[in-house]
């Protein structure tokens, strides 16, 4: 339908490379989304901003966590299984270790593994996806099947299988194993998008002009995939964090490095549940949820940026209700508030 303006916007926005999320301050631009500088649109999305703020907070903790931790996370003390108090904000373990310090120190491991895995997996995904989508033909078939195979094979058991047979499992090893098993989703999405970009006029024109393939890919295609690559990256980081924590929780890769998963592992194996020591496992879980939510929120922002139809109508439901407007398909709301003059 020509009158659906969002479709037009969608095309325009896909053709326009998105500004990298970290460009800086949010401009005091007008709230209207259809006008004003569109490159800052992503940063005006409140969900994305909330997500970035939370993520920045965890980044900060990852850097300074070990310095500001009040105790050595492994140091035992006589305060055994203490509930939260002023001395121990998140209580203590069965050995008198400070849970708060464990969480602070453990943040770094989570963030490092998440981002290393995210970067590696995204790189593999971009290479496979873009090549498959651009080259087409047999190369595409082969790479697509490869990606789909990795999608269908259950990742977590595969990670457990590999990590479980490694003699020593450090953080970076876990990150690499996660990356090797987790790149397929991004590759699949990128392949589809590259395929549709390849048929667009500006790419066809560049090909007709005899531009070299790598130049077309780097100058014409990749910039237009920025948003999708970013979304894939964020998704992979979330997946990597969950995988790492799950691995640690079932006892793989506990080589003295603290992370939120090892905290939960100890809580589970030392029967924190049965002892009623809720402070032992609740904080770590909430941190995971908070980090995961921040990543999901960022991805919502990217999704809504790429597909404007998903944007909630961008206004508060209350004012709509006051005016008697219920936005829906097939029944255009009618309000009698038009001004009488034509101009």
């Amino acid at each position: 339908m020509t009158i659906d303006t969002s479709i037009v916007e969608e095309g325009e926005e896909l053709a326009r490379p998105s500004q990298a999320p970290a460009t800086g301050a949010v401009p005091a631009a007008p709230r209207r989304s259809s006008r004003g500088p569109r490159k800052f649109l992503f940063l005006r999305n409140s969900k994305a901003i909330a997500g970035m703020v939370i993520l920045a907070f965890f980044f900060l903790i990852a850097i300074i966590g070990p310095w500001i931790a009040p105790y050595d996370p492994s140091a035992r003390s006589d305060d055994i299984l203490q509930p939260p108090s002023w001395e121990h904000w998140f209580g203590t373990t069965h050995l008198g270790q400070d849970v708060f310090s464990q969480i602070l120190v453990g943040t770094r491991g989570v963030i490092v593994v998440g981002f290393v895995a995210g970067i590696v997996a995204t790189t593999i995904g971009v290479i496979v996806g873009v090549i498959a989508g651009y080259v087409g033909g047999l190369g595409d078939e082969t790479l697509s099947v490869l990606a789909n195979v990795f999608l269908v094979i259950p990742q977590l058991p595969l990670i457990i299988l590999i990590a479980g047979q490694l003699p020593t499992v450090g953080g970076v090893t876990v990150a690499l194993v996660i990356a090797i098993t987790g790149w397929a989703w991004g590759a699949r999405v990128l392949r589809a998008q590259t395929l549709s970009l390849r048929r667009r006029d500006f790419v066809e024109a560049a090909r007709a002009n005899g531009e070299r393939t790598w130049r077309i890919i780097t100058a014409e295609i990749l910039p237009n995939l920025t948003a999708i690559i970013a979304a894939g990256f964020v998704g992979t980081v979330a997946f990597a964090v969950l995988s790492l924590i799950t691995l640690s929780f079932i006892g793989i890769g506990n080589t003295g490095e603290w992370n939120w998963g090892t905290v939960l592992y100890q809580a589970q194996s030392q029967l924190a549940l049965q002892r009623g020591a809720w402070w032992w496992f609740v904080p770590a879980g909430l941190c995971i949820a908070l980090l995961g939510m921040s990543l999901t929120l960022i991805n919502f922002g990217i999704d809504e940026f790429v597909n404007p139809r998903l944007r909630s109508t961008g206004l508060n439901a209350k004012s709509l209700r006051q005016r008697g407007i219920r936005p829906r398909i097939g029944f255009t709301p009618v309000v009698y508030e038009a001004k009488e003059d034509r101009a």
């Binding site: 020509t2 659906d4 709509l320 398909i329 709301p333």
Partner: protein, 374 residues
């Protein structure tokens, strides 16, 4: 709407021509002062501003204009099918039934509107590619419309009726069991027409029904519509950007520009004696289907951004006949300032409306010869 209406120019001076715009006799659909906004927030775009249009019973009314002028929006708003964030902010859409009963479509509740749809007024949508549900057979899609309004009809009867309808538009009835993806573009468009005729509606709105088709197919479909109209006697609003096509099929043509109707006249009058500079320019940007060849000229510039319209005539920046008054007052539909014109035609141009020009303290200019052809 009358030119002596106090709204636009209270100091209207007497005119040499007949002052009343003669109304269309026996109207079936009257759109009055319809206004539509896009956007629910404090800063919406006014895509339709006080548009009025009347469709006579049995008439084919063509609605033409560049893309983005609001012609589709008018059709969707009049049927309340405009998707979010479309918002109807005022006006009336009066439907007159065969027995003379009048209803305002904009004031119907959901159940009444559902009952009225397809029965009174059906739509053939632009782009038949996406108008059919890809997962249902077309027979089912025609039949469900029938059964929704006539619950007493059995599925079997509804399918028999669907087969008749397909034959009516020249498709073999064994296509009932086809899925949309098995049909060509032209066939899908015919299926849409058959579907729209299912309940013998009194008004058929066709939104660019032929745009996606090749020229041969366009012709066939247009002829088919004309033929069906002869036999079934419904009224048609035919929306297209292709004016020359309208001259083939329409009795009357309304030209839209920037969310307003700028000229409304009999098809032949628009074609041979355009009174609005935009109509004239639009005619000169399409090759005529038959008749003498004439020079093709485009229209300079592009349609205005509807969100940035100030006062004044929205066409003035692209108009060869614009003068000072055009930036001060937005013209209303009046009878053309040409002696001997059909009393039913109207045009929104200050060259034809000296009274409005004087009202803002400007000196009127005469109608240029290009806009007063006889």
């Amino acid at each position: 709407m009358s030119i002596t209406s106090p709204l636009g120019h209270p100091q209207a001076q007497p005119q040499p021509q007949p002052q009343q715009l003669t109304p269309v006799s026996d109207p079936v659909l009257e759109i009055k002062n319809l206004s539509v906004d896009y956007g629910y927030d404090g800063d919406p775009v006014h895509v339709l501003r006080q548009v009025s249009l009347t469709l006579g019973r049995g008439e084919v009314l063509g609605l033409a204009g560049e893309s983005g002028c609001g012609k589709s929006t008018l059709a969707y708003a009049a049927t309340r099918l405009l998707p979010p964030p479309g918002l109807i902010t005022g006006g009336e859409v009066l439907f007159t039934d065969r027995d003379g009963r009048q209803t305002d479509i904009l004031r119907l509740n959901d159940a009444q509107l559902r009952a009225s749809r397809w029965q009174d007024l059906a739509i053939v949508f632009q782009g038949a590619m996406n108008s059919l549900n890809p997962v249902f057979r077309i027979g089912r899609q025609i039949a469900d419309g029938i059964r929704a309004h006539r619950p007493e009809v059995s599925q079997k009867e509804a399918l028999e009726r669907s087969a008749e309808l397909l034959e009516l538009v020249g498709i073999s009835p064994d296509r009932l069991r086809s899925y949309p993806h098995q049909l060509s573009g032209g066939m899908r468009q015919r299926v849409m027409i058959a579907m729209a005729l299912a309940l013998d509606p009194q008004v058929l709105i066709m939104d660019e029904p032929t745009t996606a088709l090749d020229v041969v197919m366009q012709r066939q479909i247009v002829e088919q519509i004309a033929d069906l109209r002869e036999r079934l006697g419904f009224s048609v609003i035919f929306i297209t950007h292709d004016v020359s096509l309208l001259i083939e099929i329409a009795d009357r043509i309304a030209i839209m520009y920037a969310g307003e109707i700028v000229e409304d006249a009999a098809a032949l009058d628009v074609y041979q004696r355009p009174r609005h500079p935009y109509s004239s320019a639009l005619l000169h940007s399409f090759p005529p289907l038959r008749g003498p060849r004439r020079e093709l000229t485009g229209i300079p510039g592009s349609p205005p951004d509807l969100s940035k319209l100030g006062g004044g005539c929205p066409f003035r920046d692209r108009c060869a006949f614009a003068f000072d008054a055009c930036s001060k007052v937005n013209p209303e539909l009046v009878h053309p300032n040409v002696v001997g014109d059909d009393p039913r035609r109207s045009v929104a141009c200050l060259r034809h409306d000296p009274a409005a020009v004087r009202a803002v303290g400007e000196e009127p200019l005469p109608v240029p010869p290009e806009l007063s052809l006889r």
